[in-house]
């Protein structure tokens, strides 16, 4: 049993570390103009939309109504979180309001993914390797999304990688208890998946898209979001 727990923890950590890989492309992107920021916002938006659609589909396979409730709570949390953050200007200039919100959203959504990993492990052991690989690969674009927003605002590549990994830390932490108490946790899963999707989709249309449209042409936003969304769908189909 203990060795199994260690395996879940180790594999969960691998998926968390994979998120940091999303920061790597930014080693090569040095000059960041306003238009580039807008384009990266569009890329992040497409990636997050693709991820959320997948989460909703997965959630609704456990329980559609619970997923709806979870998603509504997710939207509400971001809406009120945003108002709360707006009322309190951040003390340090290094983390802007938008960065804070994005990192919080991605971290919160990792909780549900961690639970998903744990529950899946509890369901069938043989699938362990495949699930880990799937989650790890799918974490990379999430790290990319975080870095795409943070890097243009002056964060270093290392900082981007660190926050990306941080946002996935709940995965190993949640996977172990979810694995241990799989029967208790399973009914909560659709709420969690719905919550994560609601929060991400709302963040995309509330923060990322308006900023993208404001600073670059609608054509390039359209192109970037469609291409990233389609790549996410492709990725999901082959994992």
């Amino acid at each position: 049993m203990l060795s199994q727990i260690l395996i879940v923890l180790a594999l969960g950590s691998v998926t968390a570390l994979a998120t940091g890989l999303g920061a790597l492309p930014f080693i090569f992107i040095s000059n960041v103009r306003e238009q580039t920021v807008a384009r990266l916002n569009a890329v992040a938006g497409g990636l997050m939309l693709g991820a959320s659609f997948q989460l909703i589909l997965e959630g609704s396979s456990y329980g559609p109504w619970q997923t709806i409730v979870g998603a509504a709570v997710g939207v509400a949390v971001i809406l009120f979180g945003e108002q709360w953050l707006e009322a309190r200007p951040p003390r340090s200039a290094r983390l802007s309001r938008q960065m804070l919100l994005l990192v919080s959203v991605m971290t919160l959504h990792s909780f549900s993914e961690g639970i998903a990993v744990g529950v899946a492990f509890g369901g069938g052991e043989k699938l362990a390797g495949m699930i880990t690989a799937a989650i790890a690969v799918h974490n990379i674009p999430e790290g990319l999304a975080i870095s795409a927003v943070m890097r243009p605002k002056g964060a270093s590549v290392l900082t981007c990688a660190a926050w990306s990994i941080f946002s996935s830390l709940p995965q190993p932490l949640m996977a172990v208890p979810a694995f241990l108490f799989v029967d208790t946790v399973r009914p909560l899963l659709p709420y969690g998946l719905g919550f994560a999707a609601g929060a991400m989709v709302f963040m995309v249309f509330f923060e990322l898209m308006p900023e993208a449209y404001a600073k670059t042409s609608a054509e390039s936003v359209g192109l970037l979001v469609s291409v990233t969304l389609a790549s996410m769908i492709l990725l999901q189909q082959f994992l």
Partner: protein, 248 residues
Amino acid sequence: MEHTASTVLLVMLVAAIPTLVAGVAFVPLLQPRGVGQREIAAAFAFASGLMLGGGYLLLAERIASAPVFVVLGACFGAAYTFVAQRFVAHEWPIEQRESDSIDDAAVVNVMLQSALHAVPEGVAIGVAMAVRFELGLFVALALAVHNVAEGTALAAALRRRGLSLFQAAMMCILSELPQPMLAVAAFLITSESRARLALGLGVAAGALIHLVLTELLPICYRQSDRRAVALLVSGSTGLVVLLKGFLA
């Protein structure tokens, strides 16, 4: 669905729903205070979410079995919208103020724009029907919502040009007529061949998603505040993807 005389008729009937809805889209204009730009923008935002979610479902339908065809189709679809946007000027009646004058050229332009949108929208209904009746019905209903927004905007412009309600309604139907026509054509072409169906699904999804992202959402953000837009789009998008879970 297979194609037989009765299924073709069914496709025609379902694809006629959004077109007929466009014919009654003038109804909100009858209110004494009229329809504001923000209200039309809200309808567009809701429709955008439905179309985005619908595009996702169409893309995801065959991407595992025929990724090349689907992606190729999506490129065609997006390219179609791109070219169509170059062909007619980007002018939407809801973005004009009451005091702006509307000439015949502007009206023709708006109708042409609706008709050009209606082409891939019709294809979407047809290919969705070829996959499954429920998917086709859903796409038709999503487009009906979109037609309410488009029809109301068009009818408002036509009314200001001095057309009667009946004439405005006819014009709205006329500009959406490519929907049922192309739905039937797309159904006939794609229902017999897996490769053509995958290609058609890609075309429809690419065009719908590109249309939403390059035309509808920018209008929404300009005409309404981002909180309302985000709530409507997330709500309707989520609804679509969930619906897929219910149907499965």
